[in-house]
């Protein structure tokens, strides 16, 4: 089997499965779930093959086929691009999707949209793979939008409830703001180059020196808008915390490994192109620094466990962008991979708690006590440790790589922000663990005896525990891959050994330890007040808890402006367009009434009309003849 065929099949099989489920298997939930899982498992195997096929640094297998030939230029082309970056990313996507699907067998059991859920997940996986393996920007954009659609459907999976429906709309619209920039950037590139092949863009072949710096800056900024929207960066992040309204496994899939990572992947994919616009990269660096710290502050005061994880996603994505902006694809992508692992783990573990307590609130979860089985607690602790950057866990290595990549390029202010963010990360990760796991039952009569658990519930628990344990094990493994990854992405660069300690790693570890210690003092130790230092300052707490009032700012500015615009449009619609329509309609009615007076059975009236028309017709015919 050739890698090209494998990559096409890897996309086509989940797509076909999703279509089949959504069209034909809506009433057969068990077979729908089985089909989806088998399809994604096959796809996962194929992507594993791709990774091995494209293991050598600098490999790039491209297969393209003209889809819509244009008169000038090569036209629109569909194809696949298989290189280390895309193959590893596709493996991450399929494996996380597979684990989430297995987990969902238990989590979503009994939901009336069970089959639809698995169909949408398959569709999402197919769209994401299409995005990852696309050989040119236009094709990438197509799948980019498909990912947006699938995520809209998944976030709004429980569309009959107002919360998820609004969250899905918000996610769709906020990412759309960025997508407009992306679309414009792609169109500008097509106009300038006639060709948006990713390889040509990255290698700067064919356009090097022919494009003005100003044009490059503009296009890069527009493309970055799309990436920032998708990855919830900078001012466009506010949709992500709300998107937690979706089912928890969906959050695990969308907000760890796939959808939000698409923006990072785009920048990593086009890194060679972005490098030609240093001012944009500089802007990206500062935007991601601020985003990382800001999202961390919001995570510090959130009471909802999923919102904590959402803010941490934003913050960690910002770290990835930071590394990319500083020029290290290897470090950014490494962090993407480890983050995909431990964030999926955190979401899935949190899902077990939520499933048990029927609440997202960490204090409420603590009150309900632990669910049976240790998997959830272990998963949460391992995930949080990775997030905080504790040494043997994957997060430590990747965050270390990110911080190291900043070293020479960034000034001291940037370094302070980055390391401060790491401290805050450790703090809120530990806070989450302590808040959730420190069991303080107020009055819990009967959560312990579980003799009446049915076989199905036990099976569901097992299904949910397996992926959590697998991912937990992965957090211990993934970290050691950093060196080989860096070799694949930037051959020739000297790679620091994973356990090589210097001033930077020591500082990071110290900060992580300090953050955890602070959290333990405030939340963990016996008799702790369980009130954070931020929460003691209500103004600050409100500021953080309300997304820095960005939503309110948007409501006061953009939303109001949009509403004014829509009112104008409505006025235009009702008065001008409908008015014209009404006038035409009323005129027709009035004209009909007038004309119906002629249609009154008066034979002489008919005669008069017949004669008039006949004479006019004869006249017209004869005149026409004379004219000829």
């Amino acid at each position: 089997m050739t890698p090209v065929l494998a990559s096409v099949l890897a996309q086509a099989i989940p797509l076909g499965a999703g279509a089949l489920i959504l069209l034909a298997l809506r009433r057969h939930p068990a077979s729908a779930a089985m089909l989806a899982i088998v399809a994604v498992a096959v796809s996962c195997g194929l992507t594993l093959f791709l990774v091995s096929a494209a293991s050598a640094p600098g490999t790039a297998i491209v297969a393209q086929r003209p889809w819509l030939p244009l008169e000038a230029g090569p036209g629109l082309i569909f194809g696949v691009l298989i290189d280390p970056l895309s193959s590893i990313m596709s493996l991450v996507v399929t494996s996380v999707t597979l684990l989430v699907m297995i987990y969902s067998l238990g989590y979503m059991a009994g939901d009336k949209g069970y089959a639809r859920y698995f169909g949408l997940l398959s569709l999402f996986a197919a769209a994401m793979l299409g995005l990852v393996l696309a050989s040119n920007l236009l094709q990438l954009l197509v799948f980019w939008e498909l990912v947006g659609l699938a995520s809209f459907l998944l976030i709004g999976f429980w569309f009959e409830r107002p919360g998820p429906a609004a969250a899905a709309r918000k996610a769709f619209i906020m990412t759309r703001v960025g997508d407009v920039g992306f679309l414009l950037g792609v169109l500008l590139l097509i106009r300038a180059l006639g060709n948006v092949s990713i390889l040509d863009l990255v290698s700067q072949a064919g356009w090097h020196g022919s494009l003005s710096p100003r044009f490059l800056t503009m296009v890069s900024a527009l493309l970055l808008m799309g990436a920032a929207g998708k990855s919830a960066q900078g001012p466009l992040f506010t949709w992500l915390p709300d998107a937690m309204e979706g089912p928890t496994p969906v959050s695990a899939l969308l907000h760890s490994a796939t959808m939000v990572a698409a923006g990072v992947y785009l920048v990593a994919r086009l890194h060679g192109f972005f490098a030609a616009a240093p001012s944009v990269m500089h802007f990206l660096l500062w935007m991601s620094l601020i985003t990382a710290v800001a999202a961390a502050t919001m995570a510090m005061v959130a009471e909802d466990i999923k919102r904590v994880l959402a803010y941490s996603s934003i913050s960690q994505l910002a770290y990835m962008f930071m590394a990319l902006a500083a020029g290290s694809v290897g470090a950014g992508f490494f962090h993407l991979i480890t983050h995909a692992g431990f964030k999926a783990l955190l979401f899935l573990a949190a899902g077990i708690f939520i499933h048990h307590a029927h609440s997202n609130s960490m204090r409420e979860i603590a009150r309900h006590g632990r669910p049976r089985g240790r998997a959830a607690s272990f998963g949460l602790i391992a995930g949080a440790a990775a997030l905080a950057g504790v040494i043997p866990f994957s997060g430590y290595f990747s965050k270390e790589a990110v911080l190291a990549s900043l070293g020479p390029a960034a000034g001291s202010a940037a370094l302070i922000l980055a390391y401060g963010g790491a401290f805050l990360t450790a703090y809120y990760a530990a806070r989450m663990v302590f808040l959730t796991l420190t069991h303080r039952p107020i009055a819990s009569p009967s959560h312990g005896p579980t003799n009446e658990t049915t076989l199905a519930e036990k099976a569901a628990r097992t299904m949910m525990a397996i992926p959590v344990l697998l991912l937990g094990a992965l957090t211990l493994v993934l970290g050691w891959l950093g060196a080989s990854l860096a070799l694949r992405f930037s051959p020739g660069v000297a790679v620091r050994g994973a356990l090589e300690l210097g001033a930077g790693p020591l500082l990071a570890l110290g900060l992580a330890a300090a953050g955890i210690l602070l959290a333990w003092l405030e939340y963990g130790r016996a008799g702790a007040a369980r009130v954070g230092f931020v929460e003691r300052v209500p103004a600050l707490r409100d500021f953080f808890a309300n997304n820095w009032y960005l939503d309110r700012l948007y409501a006061a500015t953009f939303v109001r402006a949009a509403q004014a615009l829509s009112r104008l449009a409505r006025w235009n619609d009702q008065r001008v367009l409908d008015g014209a329509g009404d006038t035409v309609a009323a005129g027709t009615v009035r004209g009909g009434r007038t004309l119906s007076r002629i249609q009154n059975g008066q034979v002489q009236m008919y005669l008069a009309i017949i004669v008039t028309v006949l004479v006019a017709f004869a006249f017209w015919l004869t005149r026409a003849e004379l004219l000829l």
């Binding site: 004669v611 006019a616 004869a618």
Partner: protein, 169 residues
């Protein structure tokens, strides 16, 4: 001014005058008399155009038959004791406008058309017409006789007093 012109002018005047009487007067009997007069005038015009036989047929058919049939129909249908309804000015005006416009337009078409001129109308005898009717136009001749027969029978059937049994006609 030749005799033909004299005959044409007089006949045309009689025809137009009769036509005006036929449409303008309010008494239906006067209308029929005007109609007969107009037909006589038209027959005179035919004479001046060298269609003697046609003129004779016109007088026979219209003055002799159709006008008389009209008188019968009027006597059978028109309520003689009722005063005629008032005329509507708007209707007269619109009729004048439409008829005038139509006639004017027709005149613009016919009067300005370049007719081949200068042929003296040849005299056509009844023998020539008869030969044609039994030659080239024999089918039309037979059809028109069938049509007249059918129309006659149909007229009798329609006008018959329905439901009054046989033998009343």
């Amino acid at each position: 001014m030749t005799a033909e012109n004299l005959v044409f002018g007089a006949s045309a005047a009689v025809a137009l005058g009769g036509a005006l009487l036929a449409v303008g007067l309010r008494n239906i009997f006067h209308n029929i008399l005007g109609f007969a007069l107009a037909m006589l005038g038209v027959a005179g015009v035919f004479l001046s155009l060298g269609a003697d036989f046609l003129a004779a047929v016109f007088v026979l058919v219209y003055v002799g038959a159709v006008a008389i049939a009209m008188v019968y129909a009027v006597m059978l249908s028109h309520p003689m004791d009722e005063a005629p309804a008032k005329r509507s000015g708007a209707k007269i005006l619109s009729a004048v406008l439409i008829a005038g416009g139509a006639a004017g337009s027709l005149w613009m078409l016919l009067g300005t058309a370049p007719w081949a001129a200068g042929h003296r109308p040849a005299m056509v005898t009844a023998a020539q017409i008869g030969a044609r009717f039994l030659g080239d136009y024999v089918l039309a001749f037979e059809l028109i006789s069938v049509l007249l027969l059918v129309a006659m029978m149909g007229a009798v059937m329609v006008a018959r007093r329905s439901g009054s049994g046989r033998g009343t006609w």
